[in-house]
């Protein structure tokens, strides 16, 4: 279906943008038309069109600074998509880490690594920013990959197994037992807990004792004394996305977190070592630099002479 979408690289910009926009829109609409009853949220269309448009602009804008800013737009729209997918924590982490930290670093480097225009000169775009390399071939390759990806997608998604109804309704949310204090707070605000009563915590495992079938939880008097009774679990009690993600990260993948820490440390060390290194400037570049330096020196010499009648000590 979307095997033959027109999509242009960098060259004829406006035409390419219109083509790409219609192609992407058509693909989404066609996908929706195949299953008109099960459309995603309307916000999905807003966010995904903004994200894809921003992405397109990232690769077509001749100025790197603007490309980076369009990337920020894409990141924010992606965060919106994550929100629809009920991944709130990742949405905000994405904005903070990507748009807030990584992209600012990119902007810094772009500012560092572009020649400032001389005074009185208008800024010209460098040749390597304005012309694309192999746009046609790249587009063809992109198409082929898109064809493969979408074919795989349409054959694969249809065979996916749906999650079980139990999991879907959160009836056996085992993580809930790990958060006795949350249950206690919810019960207190609901008023189902007598003053002085607590949710009973199993001393060995530190979990609350929940009977999911009956929707009850064991509560007890102060410090484990007094009668243990079963109280009804508050309805609509569920863990937030951040809590679930925390459990998933620290309980299921503790080793991965350690490795991530090591990776970050290594990256930091590597960046420091790399940027401390004194570079040997290339011969051509050195020649160019010295020539421009000499020219500016001579110019300032002349200026000084004409101004004060004397040379400068250099």
């Amino acid at each position: 279906m979307c095997l033959a979408l027109p999509r242009r690289g960098v060259s004829p910009q406006i035409l390419g943008a219109i083509l790409a926009a219609t192609a992407g829109g058509l693909a989404l609409v066609a996908l929706g038309a195949m299953n008109p009853t099960q459309l995603p949220n309307v916000y999905f269309y807003v966010f995904s069109s903004v994200a894809l448009g921003g992405a397109l602009r990232v690769i077509t804008h001749p100025r790197p600074v603007y490309a980076a800013l369009y990337f920020v737009l894409t990141v924010i729209a992606t965060a919106g998509l994550f929100l629809i997918l009920s991944a709130e924590f990742m949405a905000f982490a994405l904005i903070i880490v990507y748009a807030g930290a990584i992209l600012i670093t990119y902007l810094f480097v772009i500012m560092l690594a572009t020649q400032a225009p001389q005074e009185g000169e208008i800024e010209v775009l460098t040749e390597y920013d304005t012309s694309a390399r192999e746009p046609i071939a790249a587009t063809v390759v992109g198409f082929l990959l898109l064809a493969v990806l979408s074919t795989m997608m349409f054959t694969g998604v249809a065979t996916l197994k749906a999650p079980t109804a139990e999991k879907r309704d959160g009836m056996t949310d085992s993580l809930l037992a790990d958060t006795p204090r949350k249950i206690e707070r919810a019960m207190r605000s609901a008023g189902t807990l007598e003053p002085g009563e607590h949710v009973k915590i199993d001393t060995a495992s530190g979990t609350a004792q929940i009977d999911f079938a009956a929707r009850t939880v064991a509560v007890t008097g102060t410090d484990g004394e007094g009668q243990t009774r079963l109280a009804a679990l508050p309805t609509n009690l569920s863990l937030s996305n951040a809590e679930r993600l925390g459990f998933s990260l620290l309980r299921d993948h503790p080793g991965a977190i350690e490795i991530a820490g090591v990776i970050l440390l290594m990256a930091m060390l590597g960046a420091v070592v790399l940027s401390r290194k004194q570079v040997q400037i290339d011969e051509d570049a050195k020649l160019l630099q010295s020539r421009s330096l000499a020219a500016s020196l001579a110019k300032s010499n002349i200026d000084n002479r004409t101004n004060s009648g004397g040379g400068i000590a250099s």
Binding site: P64, L83, A138, F143
Partner: protein
């Protein structure tokens, strides 16, 4: 805030019930399109910094796919993986940008084709 999000995006607390396979394929299509855009950008652009921006685009696309699949299966491993992708992206960005600054100091240019003689 979470109440607002729940009411606007989810309709109810916790996971909303319906996330069907067709809805999933929408997200996968967006992810695939964004990945391809990043790939085309990586091939066509000649500015080193923009090339790395395009790799970040591809990271984003992979993240969308992972979160969407995790949502479909009601499994958090997808989101957990995105946390690590974010880590790797940050590490990669710092190293790549340090390298770019180094290369720029050497040739006073960000053109990737200046370094063609490095191929071997």
């Amino acid at each position: 805030m979470s109440l607002l999000i729940n009411s606007v995006f989810l309709g109810q607390a916790g996971f909303p019930a319906e996330f069907s396979a067709p809805a999933l394929s929408h997200y996968i299509l967006v992810s695939a399109l964004m990945f391809i855009i990043g790939l085309i950008g990586f091939i066509t652009r000649r500015n080193l910094i923009v090339m790395f921006l395009c790799t970040e685009l591809m990271f984003q696309a992979a993240g969308i796919a992972m979160v969407a699949f995790g949502r479909y299966h009601l499994d958090l491993t997808g989101q957990t993986f995105v946390v690590f992708v974010l880590t790797v992206a940050a590490a990669e960005a710092s190293m790549a940008l340090a390298l770019i600054v180094l290369l720029f100091r050497r040739k006073e240019s960000l053109n990737a084709e200046e370094w063609q003689d490095m191929k071997g």
